[in-house]
Structures are given as structure tokens and as C-alpha cells.
């Protein structure tokens, strides 16, 4: 029974090897905080915070680290209020409007 199962299943060691290689490549790169994906994530959040009050619950960050490429998805719920305020601030900066 055990032998039968052993031969009928694809080997799992190659999967283990591939997973470890990807993981360790990322972990070695991230020592000292120099991992690009992490850096991008932090800076993107900083930029967003510059323009609006960021409610952590309204920001979802997802990463998927791959062998050839990684993906970073930052989902931000932007309240209508913040959009309006930003528009007002931009309008105030236009010189023509200031004179009027």
C-alpha cells in the first residue's frame, strides 16, 4: 500500500527545493532592509500619507514573491472627502485664481 502510494505520487523534493530557493533569495536580499519590494511598499504608503489621512484599515497591501518577478498590490480606499480637499488645495495654488 505504502509502496504503491510512493510511486504513484509525483516527487515533492523538487517543489521543496524551488520554494526554498525563492524564499532564501528574498530573505538574503532583505537583510538590512534593502529589499526593493519592501522599500517600494514603505515609500508608496508615505506618499499616500502625504496627501490624505491614511486609515490603516482602509489600506490593504499584498505581496507575492516569485522567482522571476514579485508583485506588490496596494489597495487604498480614498474617501470622497479627501478627494475634494485635495482638489480645493490644488485650485488655491493656481495663480490666476488667487488674483481673482
Amino acid at each position: 500500500m505504502n509502496l504503491f502510494r510512493f510511486f504513484s505520487k509525483p516527487q515533492s523534493a523538487p517543489a521543496a527545493r524551488e520554494r526554498l530557493q525563492v524564499l532564501l533569495a528574498h530573505e538574503r536580499a532583505s537583510v538590512g532592509g534593502s529589499d526593493l519590494v519592501t522599500k517600494l511598499r514603505e515609500e508608496i504608503l508615505k506618499v499616500i500619507a502625504k496627501h490624505m489621512q491614511v486609515d490603516d484599515d482602509k489600506v490593504s497591501v499584498k505581496m507575492e514573491r516569485g522567482a522571476k518577478m514579485s508583485t506588490l498590490a496596494v489597495d487604498v480606499e480614498i474617501p470622497f472627502d479627501a478627494t475634494r480637499k485635495a482638489a480645493a488645495a490644488a485650485a488655491a495654488k493656481v495663480p490666476g485664481k488667487k488674483a481673482a
Binding site: A16, L23, R41, D56, D57, K62, E64, G66
Partner: protein
């Protein structure tokens, strides 16, 4: 309010992480909402065993230090939608785990989940004591081998002294999970007997997980063994353990024991 379980052992390498993942997945496969929390700061591995290692963004330390919200740090399993993981930090010092921070996180998790499973690091230091601190139930993972049994005894002592329940005069429900049980070695008489371990530690038995290739295969693939191969012997043992955890009085079968022993098995008190 959900139940908090600590999976602990004292000794390393006995199967705490494997068991945390398998028990968590088995509970979630039954429809319960489960979060498995990795307390092994600096040497996290639960993410790898559960196959979520590429998706870790924030971790337990980030949440405790206020750098991320709990909801942001939780990773949902891709296979079972009621199963979540809260990873440990890989780069931070374990001193970042504060008792107040851990209490806050556990309390929030208890409100949102049916089961909060705390995967303890080996040893009896800060990480291990904080992992057990808020437990309602403790699963002591033990191998049928002298040093593991000794360390389990030490951990049982800590559970009776250093947990919130113990300090307030209540009891932490303790269960023994015997892992890496090798029927071949047992039949040669070269392994501690189940009854011997039970007698020495004198806590009820939750289950016996046989030593198996299936466990190694599952970790290679990044899937809890109950998901990787539901029909395998270790998976079935974990499913049974989960049923006992939920109160079903099903008899424990010793892997490799013949049916003639059934009466004896039936006589053994299940957890």
C-alpha cells in the same frame, strides 16, 4: 469568544509547527474559523509549512509595535477560506514581543475566530512563555523518546504556573499529542510505549501521529498534511485529534497495533 490553544513542547523538532498547521487546517476544513499564530520570532517556519511564505507582508511584531493593523497582517489560506495565518517576524528581536502587546492581539483574535492556535517556539524562554500565557487549552507535543518526555514534563509545570489561567486559580486544559510514533520501532520494543508516556506525564491523550513520509511530503509542498493528503495515516490521526478536542469521545488507535489489542485500546482513556 474563541478558544486559545497553545501547541508547545519544550524540545525542538518534535512537530509543534507541523501539528499547529495540521490541527488548524483540520479545524478550518470542518468549517470553523481558525487563526494560527507563529510565536517563533526570528526563526519563523509556520509560513513555510503552510505555503504562505511568499505572501508575508506584515507580522506579529509589526502589529504589536503599531506599525500595521491586525487585519493587514493576517494572511488568508488559499485553499481553506476560514483558515488564517499570523506570521512571526523573521528579522526583529524577540524582545519586541511584549506581554501587553500579545494580550491585546490575542484578545482581538479571540473575538474574530473560533480557534486561536499559538505555535510556540522551542525552549522555555520569553517566546514560549508568551505563547502559552493566554491559553485555555494546551497541546503538549511529545515524541516517544526520553529527552522529549522530560522536556514535556517541564512544560506541563510551566503551564500550571505561568499562564493567566493558572495565576487566577483556574486550570489550563492539557492534552498530550504523541508525534513521530514509529510502529516498526515500537514492535521491536525499542520505543517508549504509549502507556508509559501517559503514565509518566499523566495528562490525557489527544492522539498519536505516526511517523510518516506524508508529513515530509506535505511540508515540501507547503500544505498542512490534512490538506496535502486527507486520506493519509497522519492526516486521519490529526482529524481524529480535532474531533477529540471538540469533545467527541472516540478511542485512540495505536498505529501498527493489532486488532487483538483493541480491548486494551478501548480501555485507554481518550482526551
Amino acid at each position: 469568544m474563541g478558544k486559545v490553544i497553545v501547541v508547545t513542547s519544550g524540545k525542538g523538532g518534535v512537530g509543534k509547527t507541523t501539528s499547529s498547521a495540521a490541527l488548524g487546517a483540520a479545524l478550518a476544513q470542518g468549517g470553523d474559523k481558525v487563526v494560527v499564530v507563529d510565536f517563533d520570532v526570528g526563526l519563523r517556519n509556520l509560513d513555510l509549512v503552510m505555503g504562505a511564505e511568499r505572501r508575508v507582508v506584515y507580522d506579529l511584531v509589526n502589529v504589536i509595535q503599531g506599525e500595521a493593523k491586525l487585519t493587514q497582517a493576517l494572511i488568508r489560506d488559499k485553499r481553506v477560506e476560514t483558515l488564517y495565518l499570523l506570521p512571526a517576524s523573521q528579522t526583529r528581536d524577540k524582545d519586541n514581543l511584549t506581554p501587553e502587546g500579545v494580550e491585546k492581539v490575542i484578545n482581538s483574535l479571540k473575538k474574530a475566530f473560533d480557534w486561536v492556535i499559538c505555535d510556540s517556539p522551542a525552549g522555555i524562554e520569553r517566546g514560549a512563555t508568551l505563547a502559552m500565557r493566554h491559553a485555555d487549552v494546551a497541546i503538549v507535543v511529545t515524541n516517544p523518546e526520553v529527552s522529549s518526555v522530560r522536556d514535556s514534563d517541564r512544560i506541563i509545570g510551566l503551564l500550571d504556573a505561568k499562564t493567566v489561567r493558572a495565576e487566577s486559580g483556574e486550570r489550563v486544559e492539557k492534552h498530550l499529542l504523541l508525534t513521530r510514533y514509529d510502529p516498526a520501532r515500537a514492535s521491536r520494543g525499542d520505543m517508549l510505549k504509549v502507556d508509559d508516556v501517559l503514565e509518566i506525564l499523566s495528562i490525557p491523550l489527544l492522539g498519536i501521529i505516526p511517523e510518516s513520509m506524508d508529513v515530509l511530503r506535505a511540508s515540501n509542498l507547503g500544505a498542512p498534511v490534512t490538506l496535502a493528503d486527507e486520506g493519509s495515516a497522519p492526516a486521519r490521526a490529526y482529524f481524529d485529534a480535532v474531533r477529540r478536542l471538540k469533545g467527541d469521545a472516540i478511542p485512540v488507535t495505536v498505529p501498527g497495533e493489532k486488532r487483538g489489542f483493541f480491548g486494551k485500546i478501548f480501555g485507554r482513556k481518550a482526551a
